[in-house]
């Protein structure tokens, strides 16, 4: 007997087609949330912010709802991948056609969202905001840069496409990629890299745009070295096992 987990089903109450869902995983981000949410709501875009409270022990949920966001409270900590998938499921259930992945900790800039959305209207299925493709002055350390280069090489081979920033969590998605990620999203740490390869290998049109990012304003960056090394190896192994499935005929050539 095989019983796979089924994907979400659209509900009867769908949102207006122009609304854009902002998926924001948050784990103990009560300090950073108010300014992050204020930044998003200050834009003229029709954004609906969904904060996924990933089992926080602080007032993340309360602060999210008090600052104009919808809050989905997970009963326990699932990690960023699980929180993101919750957001994708919610987006699909409510029938959102476009989605943004946005960090709660303030490293992403709401003013960059329009640049991130632009390629979607030109036929892209997913857009990655890159720290290294020209805009801004974000820096990483040397050893981390080296590890990222190897990863970038592996991804280039698997995705068949060059990306300058594979771990960026600043992304936008069209309806088909939202549906793909709602059904299956890599659940472990470094999910963003896996998700990127997954979308490419599924035959989606994935593009990259240069974006400005800030240093983190709150929370703790997840770069403890042992854990990072373990996940680094794990990602390389699991990337090699990403199935190649032609989800649809290839879109417009980039």
């Amino acid at each position: 007997m095989t019983m796979s987990v089924t994907g979400p089903t659209p509900s009867a109450h769908t949102v207006a087609p122009d609304r854009i869902v902002v998926i924001m995983p948050a784990f103990n981000e009560q300090e950073a949330l108010p300014s992050t949410l204020a930044g998003l709501l200050a834009t003229p875009l029709p954004l609906d912010v969904v904060v996924i409270d990933d089992g926080s022990t602080d007032d993340t949920a309360k602060i999210a709802t008090a600052n104009g966001a919808v809050c989905l409270q997970l009963p326990f900590n699932l990690g960023i991948g699980g929180a993101l998938r919750t957001g994708f499921r919610y987006a699909v259930e409510l029938g959102y056609q476009r989605g943004i992945q946005f960090d709660a900790d303030g490293q992403h800039d709401a003013s960059q969202i329009e640049a991130l959305l632009a390629p979607l209207t030109e036929g892209a299925d997913m857009v990655v905001g890159s720290r290294f493709a020209g805009a801004g002055d974000y820096r990483v350390g040397r050893s981390r840069g080296f590890a990222m280069n190897i990863l970038r090489w592996a991804i280039r081979r698997l995705a068949g496409q060059r990306f300058t920033d594979t771990s960026s969590g600043f992304r936008s998605f069209g309806p088909e990629v939202l549906a793909l990620f709602a059904a299956e999203y890599p659940i472990e740490y470094m999910d963003s890299v896996e998700a990127l390869v997954m979308a490419c290998r599924a035959g989606f049109d994935v593009r990259e745009v240069p974006t400005v990012m800030h240093e983190r304003t709150g929370g703790v960056a997840s770069n403890r070295s042992f854990r990072l090394a373990y996940h680094y190896v794990r990602v390389l192994v699991s990337l090699a096992n990403t199935p190649k499935a032609q989800h649809r005929t290839a879109g417009t050539s980039a």
């Binding site: 987990v5 989905l72 997970l74 699980g82 919750t86 499921r89 919610y90």
Partner: protein, 135 residues
């Protein structure tokens, strides 16, 4: 094996089987897992009951130190069981994870419904008490 070792083994096997049956009857253990352990128990019973069997089989397989055969079989079986558990665990984790996600979404949607119900109940109450009031 000496007679004393044999008796020891027989007692241990009998106890193990009794524990398994007890767990199954109290529904602490699912039947599919109990089958696994009961098979193992049955295997042990045969080995304990027929002293020459292990030696004979080992000789047939070209194994000169008989306990090796027992260890080999035991290890192989345990490996299979552990693999099976890993498989089950992955499946369970996947399901628990999905349930958690669903629960978060449903919890939110329930709260939206509750707020709507509350608002409409107030509206009805207002219109009943003050028909002219505009709110």
């Amino acid at each position: 094996m000496s007679t004393r070792a044999h008796i020891m083994l027989a007692i241990l096997v009998a106890m193990a089987i009794l524990v398994i049956i007890r767990l199954v009857r109290r529904r602490h253990l699912k039947a599919k897992y109990s089958l696994l352990w009961l098979t193992l128990g049955g295997f042990m019973v045969v080995i304990a009951a027929v002293p020459g069997l292990l030696d004979w089989t080992a000789a047939r397989l070209g194994i000169y130190y008989q306990p090796t055969l027992l260890l080999l079989l035991g290890l192989a079986l345990l490996l299979l069981i552990v693999m099976h558990f890993s498989y089950e665990l992955s499946r369970m984790e996947n399901r628990v994870r999905t349930l958690a996600e669903e629960s978060a979404i449903l919890r939110h949607r329930l709260s939206v419904l509750e707020r709507l119900a509350e608002a409409s109940a107030e509206k009805i109450a207002d219109s009943n008490s003050e028909p002219d009031h505009e709110g």
